[in-house]
Symmetry: C2
Subunit: 340 residues, 2 copies
C-alpha cells in the first residue's frame, strides 16, 4: 500500500473504531448514570470532531516495517488508545492553558461553560479527561500485542504518559529548557511512543527497536522545529504576517536561539513581545524581523534539515520491510516539511 | 490469621510497597526531568501521609476467602494500585470541592499554592493526579492475577474508575439521587471493586463471585449510612455537637429521609441549613433536632442494621474459607459500626 492509500485507510479504520467505542461507552454510562452521560459526550465530541490520527498512522507504519503481513486492523485498538490518551491530555491541557478553542470548536471546559457555571464547568472538564484516561486503557488492553511482550507494551504506553505529564510541568513552569520540554511533550508522544508501540505489536527484534529510536529521536525534534517555524512565520507565501506563537509570547526554539545569538542589548524588541510588555503589530513585526536578522531562523531551518536527513539516514540498512521504509519516509516528510 | 493480626499486616505490606514504589518513581522522574519531581512528591506525600489502607484490606480478605493458601504478599500490588487510584481521584476531587485539607495536612493543590500562584498551583495538582493515574495502572498490571482472568481483572479495575467518575459527576451537579451517587462513589470503590479484584486474584468460582456481590452491595450502602450518621451527629458521646455534614450543607441520606418524612411546611429549619441561608449554631442545632424528631435518624439506623445483617447473612453458606468469613465479618463491622 502506498502512503497515499495507507494514511487515509488507517484514519478510516481508527475513526470507525472510535465511533463504535463511544457508542458502547455512551450506552454503558447510560445504564450506570444517565444524567452523567454529558461527561462521555464531552470527550466523544472532541475526539470525533477531527484530529489527523497521525499517531495511529505512525504506529501502523512501524508495525508494517517489521510485520508487513499483519493486517492493518491489528493496529487499530492501539492507535485508537493513543487518540483517547490525546483527548484526555488535551482536555486537561486546554483548561490549564485556558485555551477555549480546539479542533475548530470549543475546548471541553468551554463547552461545559455553556451549560454550567465556571468552576463546575472546569471540574466537569477535568472529569471528562479522567474518564478518557480509563477509556484509553480499555482500548489499549484490547490490542493484540504478542503475549510475551504485553508488559513491555504497557510500560511503553505508561512511559508516554509519564513523559508528557512531566513535559507539561516544564511548560507550565516556563522552564528555560525548551528542547527537553518539547522532547517530552511532543517527541515522546507523537513519534517515539507510537513507533515503539507499533514495533512491539509487530514483535520487532532488538535491532529493529534500536533503528526505530535512531529514526524517531531526530524526527521528534524536527517535528517541533517545523511546528515552531510554522507557528512563528505562518504560511508566509499566503499571508506574510507573524504567526500566533509570537502573538502568544511562546518561548519557541526560535526565540531561544535568537536569545543565544543576540547580545543582551540587542534583543529588546524580542523581550518586549515575549515578556508581554508590548504585543502591538509593529512590536510583533520588529520581533519577527529580529528572529530573521539574528540568524535564528536560518539556524533552525538548517538544524531541521539536518535532523530530517538523520531520520532518513536511519532508515538505510534498518531491518525494515521496503513498504515500511516508504511509509516512514512519507511520515518524516509529513511531520517535518509542513505547510499546516 | 485473626482480623487483629491481618489488618495491620496488610497495612504494613502495602505501606512498604508504596514506599519502595515512590522511591523508584522519584528516581525515574529525576532522570527524565529533575525540576518536575515536585509532581511525584505531591502525590507521594499525600499517599504516604496516612489513609487506613482499607481497600487493600478488603481485597486481601476476599482473596483469603477463596484462596486461603495464597500468601498475603500476592495481594499487595493490587492493593497498592487501589491506594494510588484513590490518591489520584482524591487530588482531583479536593480541587473540585475546594477542600484545602486532607489526611491531616494540606490537599495537594493547597500544598502547591505555597510555592506557585493560584491557577498554576491548581494545574500542577491536576497533573499530579494525572501521573497518579499512570502509577495506579503500573502497580495494577504488576499484580499476579491468574493469566486466564487478566482481562476480567482489568475490566473490574476500569469499572471502579468509571463508576467513581460518574458518581462524582452526580455529586458535583447536586443530583437528588443521593443513594445512587453514594453507590457509585463509595460502594463501588470501597467495597464492591476491592472485593471483586481480590476474588479474581484468588481465582474465585462464579458462585463465589455472586456471594461477594451479595455481601458487598448491602455493605457498601451500610458504610455510607454509617458515614452520614457519623458526619451528622458526630461522636455524640464525646462532644454532643452537630457534625460537619450539616455545617457544610451536605445532602446526606439523613437529610433526604427527613425531607421525605416531613411535610413541606415543617422542614424550614432544615432547608435553611442545607440551602445555606443560615448556618449559625442555633440553626444547626434546630436542623439536627429535626433530623431526630422527623424519625429520619431512627429510620437510617434501622436500615443500617438491616443492611449489616444482610451482609452478614450473605456469608452463611458462601463457598468461603472459615478464615475468610471471619475477616469479612470484621470488615463489615469495621465499615458499618464505626466511631471514626
Amino acid at each position: 500500500m502506498t502512503p497515499a492509500d495507507f494514511f487515509p485507510r488507517v484514519r478510516e479504520l481508527v475513526d470507525a473504531k472510535l465511533h463504535a467505542y463511544f457508542e458502547q461507552q455512551v450506552a454503558e454510562a447510560t445504564t450506570i448514570s444517565p444524567e452523567s452521560v454529558e461527561l462521555v459526550e464531552g470527550i466523544r465530541d472532541l475526539t470525533l470532531r477531527g484530529g489527523k490520527r497521525f499517531r495511529p498512522v505512525v504506529l501502523a507504519a512501524a508495525t508494517t516495517c517489521v510485520a508487513p503481513e499483519r493486517p492493518l486492523s491489528d493496529t487499530v485498538s492501539a492507535g485508537a488508545a493513543l487518540e483517547l490518551l490525546q483527548s484526555y491530555l488535551l482536555i486537561h491541557d486546554d483548561w490549564m492553558d485556558q485555551d477555549d478553542e480546539r479542533r475548530g470548536g470549543p475546548a471541553v471546559h468551554a463547552a461545559f461553560r455553556a451549560r454550567h457555571e465556571g468552576h463546575l464547568a472546569d471540574s466537569l472538564a477535568i472529569l471528562a479527561g479522567d474518564i478518557g484516561s480509563a477509556y484509553a486503557f480499555e482500548l489499549f488492553v484490547d490490542a493484540p500485542f504478542p503475549a510475551a511482550r504485553h508488559a513491555e507494551a504497557v510500560q511503553a504506553f505508561l512511559r508516554i504518559q509519564k513523559e508528557v505529564i512531566l513535559g507539561q510541568h516544564l511548560d507550565l513552569t516556563a522552564n528555560p529548557d525548551v528542547s527537553r520540554m518539547h522532547d517530552l511533550k511532543t517527541g515522546s508522544y507523537t513519534v517515539r511512543g507510537p513507533l515503539l508501540l507499533g514495533a512491539i505489536l509487530g514483535d520487532a527484534s532488538e535491532e529493529a527497536m534500536a533503528a526505530f529510536l535512531a529514526y524517531g529521536n531526530p524526527l521528534g525534534e524536527a517535528f517541533q522545529l517545523a511546528d515552531d517555524l510554522l507557528g512563528t512565520f505562518g504560511d508566509q507565501g499566503a499571508t506574510g504576517k507573524p504567526g500566533n506563537d509570537l502573538r502568544n509570547g511562546k518561548r519557541t526554539c526560535l526565540v531561544a536561539e535568537a536569545e543565544r545569538l543576540l547580545p543582551p542589548g540587542q534583543r529588546d524588541a524580542l523581550d518586549r513581545v515575549i515578556g508581554g510588555a508590548d504585543r502591538s503589530e509593529p512590536a510583533l513585526e520588529a520581533a519577527s524581523a529580529l528572529l530573521v536578522a539574528s540568524g535564528a531562523k536560518a539556524n533552525v531551518e538548517a538544524r531541521l534539515k539536518a535532523l530530517l536527513a538523520e531520520a532518513h539516514g536511519a532508515l538505510e540498512g534498518a531491518p525494515f520491510s521496503a513498504a515500511g521504509v516508504t511509509l516512514l519516509k512519507a511520515v518524516a516528510d509529513r511531520l517535518a516539511v509542513r505547510s499546516s
